[in-house]
Amino acid sequence: MRLHLKIWRQAGPDAAGRLVDYVADRISPDMSFLEMLDVVNEALIRNGEDAIAFDSDCREGICGMCSLVVNGVPHGPDRGTTVCQLHMRRFKDGDTITVEPWRAKAFPVMKDLVVDRSAFDRIIAAGGYISVNVGGAPDGNAIPVPKEIADVAMDSAACIGCGACVAACKNASAHLFMSAKISQLALLPQGRAERYRRVLSMIDQADAEGFGSCSNEGECEAVCPKEIPISNIARMTREYVKALWAAGR
């Protein structure tokens, strides 16, 4: 396959960026999107040019590192996958593909396609954990959790924190990410103890990081590689109201 790429190049956080044209030649349809970029980079390095910087780690859709907006959609055209799981057979020979980084004030571009997502870490640090010592693994069914609730909690816990929800949202909102992290804990007994403090702190932190609010469009859900639904966002709102109620404010 021969593909025309338009890739965002930006030398550093404060530098101006622009789309640069590249040609990816002799690409196998069985390559992943990131492998295709590896091939392009190898050619750049051979020619003594600066390789295109992009994030990746596990390359099997579970780590949340890869973060490319392909043809205007975070993680590319396929549902429920990360961009490392996107294969070149999804494109046609001769296609032009635009590749951009996540764009949000809270995710500043470090270089080319790499953004700094430590804002997510700070949101988690604000309350997305259980601070009590829960000890070793409890005996099965020692803490009864209804199956339906366990399922929803597990679905929320599938969030890999990649930030595609922020990238897709017209408001660069982190509500889907936060709500998944809040839901996975609020739904289960171990997370209940700190649920109110958690939701207030995490929302405060996200607002302070400069993420936007939510317009209920659900673009986040559509691009989420783990297909986390926006019903989590409604749950986060309920948690917020309950927390305010409990705090008597």
């Binding site: 907006v69 951009e100 809270a106 897709a168 660069a172 209920n216 019903s231 409604a234 305010l244």
Partner: protein
Amino acid sequence: MSSRTGVFSSSVGTKIVIGLTGMALVLYLVVHIAGNALVFFGPTVFNQYSHLLLSNPLVPLIEIGLVIIFALHLYKTVRMFIANQQARPVAYVRKKYAGAPSRKTVASSTMIVSGLWLLMFVVIHVTQFKYGAEYEVDGVRDLYRLEMENFANPLLVGFYVVSMLVVGSHLWHGIASAFQSIGADHPRWTPRLLAASKILAVAIAAGFVVIAVWAYVHQAGRVRP
């Protein structure tokens, strides 16, 4: 905790305020269109109904409440829109709708435009009707005559029809969105709510359009002296 930003200034609190005020405004629209539909029963019924409202001492209080709700909805949405724009200082060169299950539509993407259009419309509308010509018939205000006179002007009817399409567009996203904003979500009921809110949006817009066009078609010229 959230005392720093204030309960209703947070990104979630803002949504709750916008959702609740939006719901109140939709409720008002439903009452409004039900009252307007009485115009089909002729001037006597319509003027009696409007007199009932005008002579009710509670109505001015409700009006003040409406103005506050409207102003709050406007203030919170405009502030949220500005903050949301700031959350993405560098725009994408290429951005596409992600497709299902996203609920994104042209209507949801233009809420600020449709909302500001409606602000303009409401100012004009209230000037023309509430503060319009004070005709009197049988000791009550003749709003029927005022309505017919206003809608004798095809340009104005056109403006109203366009504005009602804008209302429909705003509600197409707004009604269901308001429920999601206050945290109301249910695996079985949300899909039905999404459908019902679109039906209600179309019904409200169509209802007002029919009334304006009916008034023009049936009465234009007849009431002009």
